[in-house]
Symmetry: C2
Subunit: 407 residues, 2 copies
């Protein structure tokens, strides 16, 4: 049993849908049961959103879900038609038909259950083409999982049906050690762990939605990220134990969406910092890195980073709380970038972080903040150094192409 997810560009035209059908037929002919999960044709979701926003600046979310869910309905039925034309028995299924039950959080619903038994049984005789991104809440309302939710649909369906693998077809041929547009020596990764992929996904390797990786990890479903335009093997995301040897550093990523916020001249008293981050958490602002300088005369500077979407909101809150606790000034600086190295091997290797700092320092790149996790080390630097830092870290940690493989 293989679950194959096709993104918007893979089903973007009638011709591409025909190619997808041919690929599914080949998989089926090779003896596998296939469940295909499709996104809307590329551009379609935006077209529908434009219509909806033409009627209301803040459309009712229940209706927005019903509106955009039609996009996947179109591509699913078209793919089923294309399969029928190839003589492959196929059946399109919408979220409610596949019994993908979600909570009622419109536009960002979470999957609660899927009738895997039903799907597994139906998939024996025919290819199921399931509309991604959508489900149905307990009351039968159409819900959607949020942008990129089709990846999550595919992995959840793979988990529910106990599929052997979830193949994610996209317009790139896999996950790279870093952005190939910036670093010509970037290399496609053959295998990577869920944990590493999670860290890379959150940092901008946009081939996979982060939620879907977490779900795959939870249920141990291998994900195969590959191109719908070739037959080349892509990147397999899997459990660490399935990898012969853990690499120390698997990839290097840059997050350009970081914004640095500094609260100047804060009273250094118990409870003050908690007040700031409590207020931010209450407003659903996700804080990433936090740096607090040493206290001078009972006052200190507090710096933290948020993503650019939250900047305005975070600054407002910082100003408001700041007034209560005697802050002199709140500054925001979007001219920063967070570069990170990721690898499960870091856990067993000392000195990786130190090497990162040295590689950056050798190029005269000043580090404004540091954060570390078990398998990731991140440094906040000035945005102008982004490309330089990526190249230096990528090649410095031995991720470049092996000699002879070319740039």
């Amino acid at each position: 049993m293989i679950v194959q997810k096709y993104g918007g560009t893979s089903v973007g035209t009638v011709d591409r849908i025909r190619e997808v059908a041919a690929r599914i037929k080949r998989t089926r002919d090779a003896g596998h049961s296939v469940i295909a999960v499709v996104s809307a044709m590329s551009g379609e979701t935006d077209r529908l959103l434009t219509l909806g926003r033409g009627l209301s600046e803040k459309p009712v979310e229940r209706e927005l879900d019903a509106l955009v869910a039609s996009g996947e309905q179109v591509s699913a039925s078209l793919l089923a038609i294309a399969l029928g034309e190839l003589g492959v028995s196929a059946r399109s299924m919408l979220g409610y038909q596949a019994r993908i039950v979600t909570d009622a959080a419109h536009t960002k619903a979470r999957i609660q259950s899927i009738d895997g038994e039903l799907l597994r049984r139906l998939a024996q005789d025919q290819v199921l083409v399931i509309a991604g991104f959508q489900g149905s809440d307990g009351d039968g309302n159409i819900t959607t999982l949020g942008r990129g939710g089709s990846d999550t649909s595919a992995v959840a369906i793979a988990a529910a049906t106990k599929a052997d693998v979830c193949e994610i077809y996209t317009d790139v041929d896999g996950v790279y050690t870093t952005d190939p547009n910036t670093v010509p020596s970037a290399r496609k990764i053959d295998r990577i762990t869920y944990e590493e992929m999670l860290e890379l996904a959150s940092l901008g390797a946009k081939v996979l939605q982060i939620r879907s990786v977490g779900l795959a990890m939870k249920y141990g479903i291998p994900i195969h990220v590959r191109s719908s335009f070739s037959d080349t093997e892509g990147t397999i995301v899997t459990r660490e134990e399935a990898l012969l040897e853990s690499v120390v550093v698997a990839g290097v990523a840059a997050d350009k969406k970081a914004v640095k916020i500094t609260m100047r001249h804060l009273r250094d008293e118990p409870g003050v910092v908690a007040k700031v981050f409590g207020a931010l958490a209450e407003a659903n602002v996700v804080v990433d890195m936090i740096i607090q300088n040493v206290s001078v005369e009972g006052h200190t500077d507090l710096t933290f980073t948020v993503s650019e979407e939250d900047e305005r909101h975070a600054v407002e809150i910082a100003r408001k709380v700041g007034e209560e606790i005697g802050v002199k000034e709140v500054l925001a600086n979007a001219d920063v970038v967070k570069v990170s190295i990721v690898g499960v091997g870091m856990r067993n290797h000392a000195g990786i972080a130190a090497k990162m700092f040295r590689l950056l320092a050798d190029e005269g790149i000043n580090i404004e903040a540091i954060s570390t996790s078990e398998i990731k080390t991140s440094c906040l630097i000035h945005a102008k150094y982004t490309e330089l830092a990526l190249r230096v870290l990528h090649d410095g940690f031995g991720l470049a192409n092996a000699p002879g493989e070319g740039a």
Copy 2:
């Protein structure tokens, strides 16, 4: 409780959807519960069909239904969004959500039941916007009712919810005594019976789908055909008893799709004619008028009319059966038109048919065939006389504008 049906042009753009929402709000503010039934935005169904037919000459019908049903989903959710923007609580509902259960005859399904109780209850607090043209079979597959099926959806919903009236909003302001493009003196009809409307609809007055009129008659639901671009009263289709006085002739129509088929030199024996029409009926060819000349030396000519869609099929069958029964020749002539006068008052008035024949004869129009029903008399004539015949009959039966009302 009012059911309002809006056709494709009425919801063809974001601006028009906004106007529809405003009209619904006015109806709601006047103290009525409103259920709106919508078609797909004009052009959308054709766009979807083009996509589907780009993949297969004969797409799987189940998938074709899922494909085109998305069109009404889009307009229903957009209208609900527009209502929300006006502060009107609204909820879009797809066929399965409104529990519109149909048989499994994809692309031409028939409604079996609707949960009128549910809809009536939900419509107390909010406007329901129901996707027309679609339902769901017993197994949860999406079905569609065939082109123009949204009228049928609306009337069926009106019947199930015991609505007071079913308003059909369209791009004309009502039903006319004849085609206003041909006969300048054509007049909008204020009230017409179901029976008359049925005869007019089948003859080409395309404002209302014929199936919906039959359904409205069965359940006694008044239909109000009116323009979505003005507030003028349109045409009310209702029971005969609801009309103060039955008119003798309510309207004059021309059916240009008639094709005359003649089987020459047929043996005039018992069973021969039955063989011909038996074979046609078996092939689902609907035969309209039938004329058989007097027998000469044991042989006769048999003439009948079919609609142009069935021409090829009917000729094939006539040739095949003709061989067995010694027919010399089968001729088809599409250069004919059937003009009809319709009116429930005919039942109580002698001489209406005779007056029709005389009006045509006075203009030198030869009548090739005649058929009559209780409330309709039709004559087959050469197509070149269509406009002349319509004008002569229309004005001859006193349907023209009263003096002063202008052309």
